[in-house]
Symmetry: C2
């Protein structure tokens, strides 16, 4: 939330943040400008003050529509600067120098977002030669501030979640209304393929006002055993094997993501799959029941690794190179990025905490590609005022579609 940003800036003794955007919209610009529909612009945040948006004249209406205070590039001598500077890097460094001084920054700043790298590397150094101190760090401050969500952000994510569940319902309906013919499923008189289901998912996501920013994961058997395999559209849907549906659409307007995974099995469920699924579900419940605000996110990865290892499964904790067993981390934050803070990995550098207002996934899984098996169960959850997690998902976690 924006109030966190001021605290983060003060802790680092920063006067100003620059969040530029050149063509490629990135979540930090979207967040700080409240979704400005511009193709280029510069958000400036001074400590203790509201962000302002500097835009180009032909986008002044869209800049104003954000509700932020806005300025035009010409207010800071843009044209004269770009006419006289020897190159683009020098011009931008001169321009930001004028902007920062006119807005009242004193000596220090951070430049954040997903930015054209060689250009901004030069700009940062150019600002340093003008005596500005430029901040460095693994995380950008806006990413940190985006971690705890405001109530309206939680409502936006909840809304994406409700529509995501509707898409999952449609996939369930097709699987339930299919008949088994030997080694394949038949729907509406035709052999059902994963591609049929993928197209259904794409259509429904679009119809419900969402974007399939990344391809949905819809994979079965061996491919379900590789967590991020998108699945083979030509594959015929088979009974008795796991089908992993991992769906993460974003709302068209707000840009907020949701993330949900279910594992289905059409027809009779093999005993081995039933047992693995039960273990994954137990890990899910263990993490969900124990998760509390004020603790390290990585502690739940430890908890779930302990659990799986006690059950005899390999984990990437015990063997980083394993491709079988529990091979990823327990979850991640969700917001304007589908994967954002807090992260749950065991790297020593990960000190992310669970905090009230976080939106997180819990998504344990077990994978055995050589045995054509993969199971993952994932909910998106909010960390409530009581410090416990509350799921935003309603759908059954069972194997039956």
């Amino acid at each position: 939330m924006l109030s966190d940003l001021d605290r983060l800036m003060r802790e680092r003794e920063l006067d100003a943040l620059i969040v530029p955007m050149h063509e490629a919209l990135h979540p930090s610009f979207r967040w700080i400008t409240r979704g400005a529909k511009v193709t280029r612009g510069y958000a400036i945040k001074l400590t203790g003050r509201d962000p302002i948006l500097i835009s180009y004249p032909m986008e002044r209406d869209e800049a104003a529509a954000t509700g932020l205070a806005t300025r035009l590039i010409h207010d800071f001598g843009y044209d004269a600067i770009f006419k006289s500077a020897p190159n683009g890097i020098a011009a931008y460094a001169d321009f930001f120098d004028v902007v920062l001084r006119e807005l009242g920054a004193e000596s220090s700043l951070a430049i954040v977002g997903n930015l054209p790298f060689p250009l901004y590397l030069g700009i940062a150094e150019g600002l340093e030669t003008k005596s500005w101190r430029v901040w460095r760090g693994s995380d950008d401050l806006v990413q940190l501030a985006r971690k705890r969500k405001e109530p309206w952000e939680i409502a936006a994510i909840r809304s994406v979640g409700e529509r995501t569940e509707q898409v999952v319902d449609r996939v369930r309906e097709v699987l339930r209304s299919s008949t088994i013919d030997g080694d394949h499923l038949v729907h509406d008189g035709r052999t059902l393929t994963l591609g049929d289901l993928k197209r259904l998912v794409s259509r429904e996501i679009s119809r419900l006002g969402m974007l399939e920013d990344h391809d949905t994961i819809l994979s079965q058997g061996r491919d379900a055993g590789i967590p991020h395999s998108r699945g083979d559209a030509d594959a015929i849907v088979r009974p008795g094997v796991p089908i992993v549906l991992d769906i993460f659409p974003a709302d068209r307007e707000s840009g907020y993501f949701f993330d949900l995974t279910r594992t289905f099995c059409a027809g009779p469920i093999p005993e081995e799959l039933r047992r693995i699924h039960a273990d994954v579900l137990e890990a899910f419940e263990l993490a969900r029941e124990s998760m509390r605000a004020g603790t390290l996110a990585s502690s739940y990865q430890t908890l779930v690794c302990d659990f799986f290892e006690q059950r005899g499964y390999a984990t990437t904790r015990s063997n980083p190179a394993t491709l079988e067993g529990y091979v990823h981390s327990l979850g991640h934050g969700v917001g304007l990025d589908v994967h954002e803070k807090p992260f749950f990995g065991l790297a020593a550098t990960n000190r992310d905490e669970i905090e009230i207002g976080d939106i997180v996934t819990i998504e344990p899984g077990l994978y055995f590609p050589d045995r054509e098996l993969g199971v993952r169960i994932e909910d998106t959850l909010v960390v409530g005022e009581d410090g416990r997690v509350e799921t935003l998902c309603r759908s059954s976690r069972g194997l039956n579609p």
Copy 2:
């Protein structure tokens, strides 16, 4: 094209390029990895060699599906490095140092793309302390290499263009089949709004396998007089005023954009609008007829500014602060970014040339927001082997829908 990249690297005496991607897909990563469907990864290009993709184990299938040579992070000691490094920046610098040495780079590299800035600023400096020379420049080399398109890229853009025209046809049909009732249009018995047309555009873009990555510009009257105003969805469509439809969808699969603008007027066309439209069309034809490979793109901006100023219009060349007349540049390249090289602006730093294989727009316009007038005409064109531009658009440029 990829062959340009080797030349650009050799000219700068660079051994290696690193094109990382963290969650936020950016065009340069998409281009160099041929659309890898991973959430994180590192493309490495050594001079004279094919790019390789370093991925995480759970995304190994999607990495392999690119057809590139692939490696896993573990091949370069990722886990041990991240376990022992004091922070993420140091860990990444150590990791890339190992990668570059093992792959045979000697001393120099560029890091390119839209990258998490504070992190990569630290990584670049970390690599410099390990005696790597890190390149700086306003353009990233992959952007430069993306400028001239391969035949398959031109085919992909042509395909988006054909579908974009179909969307425009649907808007035309609605406007043509509407009736005028006093100061508004009626369609299917209901008062037609810009929102109705915007929803139609969104539905058709999705139905035709494209993404509306940026909101379509559909504006009329005063808003049409502000080039990038997206238009008011609640506005009632009116006869006798210009309606600007500027549509720039991307193909879902390939990611390539198209960019097309038409200005319509339903009902009787006011004389002033007819005259302004004729002047814009004349500027369009002037630029299209004269454009040749081997010349500066900015020379056509000069040509069109001369033309409009001779007709008595203000331009941002004669008055950078003007909000009336000809207020933007003549066009831009189109590819995996909707606006990319070559650029047509008059900044002294812009030395972009028109080259065979470029895809460009030509889009003159005239704007008078206070008179509720704005006209823009835009085609996407390819620079052919004969050095002349060939339009990829088929639709009429006239004011009648």
